[in-house]
Amino acid sequence: MKKSMGQKIFLAFNYAFLSLAGLLCLLPFINLLAVSLSSSSAVAAGSVSFVPKEFTLSSYQFVLHSSKFITAFFISLKRVLLGVGLNMILMICTAYPLSKGKKQLFAKPVYTWYFVITMLIGGGLIPTYLVIVKLRLIDTIWSLVLPGALPVYNMIILMNFFKSTPEELEEAAQIDGAGVWTTLWKVVLPISKPGLATVALFCIVSHWNSWFDGLIYMNNPRHYPLQSYLQTLVINPEQMLRISGGDYTKILAMVNARTGRAAQLFLGALPILMVYPFLQKYFSGGLLMGSVKG
């Protein structure tokens, strides 16, 4: 079909506008990367745009020498492994029974409301904090993984996924004498891999990105996960340069608060950038899954 003049103009304008918006999402990150790869003097002169000036890896060398960054990075890693593991166990154990019909699970509506109410109303910051204090979880990794151990929204997504799996397979297994646990482990979970992957990715991102709980539940900054540590850095970039000199002096000559911060922010975002392709694949699917009616 031939396009009219008006349509051509519209399309040209449309492509231009959309590309501009795309650039607007990409350029800040390129700028940050360029800053992290430039020398401190070039950055201070304000001449760094999207290409590194006086290219140097000093900022990254500095970060990898910084024990605070490394410690925080490993705390975050530990948190993700422990937290997501716990999330998965609790979500599966909760979502599976709730995916059953009213006849198969006595008091199902009571259970469902018990969990859903917590999405609608909560105690808020202060009472939650006081409970964590009372349970003596302050300054332990458990304060980061136990309070959100059962993410209800993700659990509902998983529940809807379980509901959509064919009932016949489970019935066949049960006729063959498999108990509830065997059926779940050998039949339901293997066919639910896409659903499990979706919620697992959500949980990984959420644990990796959490910073506020680390900030309030850890009295000792040495126990901060990476995002909490980065938060203190964002608020006060100068503090990271206050490390007892020694053999850093040579590196420090090339680093300032801005380049050092840029390098650490970039490294902090890197794991997310690495799982991003998988996220994209599952995310819109998971989103629609959540709205499937029961």
């Binding site: 940050l32 917590t118 909560g122 105690g123 904090y129 006081l130 980065l230 938060q231 994209q280």
Partner: protein
């Protein structure tokens, strides 16, 4: 006979109930006990006595509402949150409509990937990014300098601060909404467009009479579901970017509670603000779900 049946049924169900037990316990510990803990808003909290401290009624509510600046935080919260909600609908819908006109699949997918990315980064990272590009010697002021504009102190200026908050929030989140609306657009029956073409309707008319009504339910649904956020102006974002310089226009309820409760350890007054906020939010969320059910036939479970 019937009794035996019942007992047998329960026995068969037992593993399912056992499976639910850990979730029930965790939820009780970390959701229901804190929920009960809001009672300290009506008490003079004493660490030794915990949640059964001496009852003082509405004392802390009166105190908090009398604090200088508190009513101002409500106004700031409403202003920032409502602007974010409005922008968070208009911008993604516009983008989805424009992106839908693009025929090149690779371009379409590539652009979605790009605009969707900031959504997955934490506000700490994005705040650090904003601090860098908006600083006096950052890229934005450098570009403005070429146009002969004096450097603007975006995050320290009380006029600019809320604007930056609203725009950067829309920037971070619009990719997500765009993907949702694009999914809704692909769900529109293509035969409708063909029928319209046969009737001689131009592209513009097709958009107006087929596309827009086609995604209207999704737009209504997303708007209604965001209603519960009227008092959520975005703690993660504002806490990482604000400073006393911009309290007048940038301080919101959540940052106020944080300073009062965690920094000054005034647990009871902070919990009182918390109750006020969750009370209003609860009413709005219930209303939102009721409306979502009526208008868009949406149920979360």
């Amino acid at each position: 006979m019937k009794k035996k049946n019942m007992a047998e049924k329960l026995k068969r169900q037992l593993p399912l109930h056992l499976m639910l037990l850990p979730g029930v316990i965790f939820t009780f510990l970390f959701a229901y006990i804190p929920l009960y803990g809001i009672i300290i808003a009506f008490e003079d909290y004493n660490p030794l006595m915990g949640f059964s401290s001496p009852w003082v009624g509405l004392k802390h509510f009166r105190y908090v509402f009398g604090l200088p600046g508190f009513v101002n935080t409500i106004r700031n919260t409403l202003y920032i949150a409502v602007c974010k909600m409005a922008g968070g609908i208009v911008v993604p819908v516009t983008f989805a409509l424009l992106l839908n006109e693009v025929a090149n699949k690779t371009y379409k997918r590539g652009l979605q990937t790009l605009i969707y990315l900031p959504n997955f980064l934490s506000w700490v990272i994005v705040a650090g990014l904003l601090l860098d590009i908006l600083s006096a010697d950052g890229i934005v002021n450098t570009v403005l300098g070429f146009a002969g504009i004096e450097p603007i102190f975006f995050l320290g200026d009380k006029t600019w601060f809320p604007i930056v908050m609203i725009l950067s929030d829309i920037w971070k989140g619009f990719g997500f909404g765009t993907v949702v609306y694009l999914a809704a657009l692909t769900g529109i029956d293509p035969t409708l467009y063909e029928a319209a073409k046969v009737d001689g309707a131009k592209r513009w008319k097709q958009t107006l009479y087929i596309t827009l009504p086609g995604i209207a339910p999704t737009v209504i649904l997303m708007s209604v579901l965001s209603l519960g956020n009227v008092l959520n102006a975005g703690f993660d974002q504002i806490y990482n970017l604000y400073s006393p310089l911009v309290y007048e226009t940038g301080d919101i309820i959540d940052t106020f509670v944080y300073r009062l409760g965690i920094e000054q350890a005034q647990y009871s007054p902070a919990a009182a603000v918390g109750i006020f906020k969750s009370g209003v939010s609860f009413v709005l969320i219930v209303l939102a779900y009721y409306l979502a059910d009526k208008l868009a036939d949406y149920h979360i479970f």
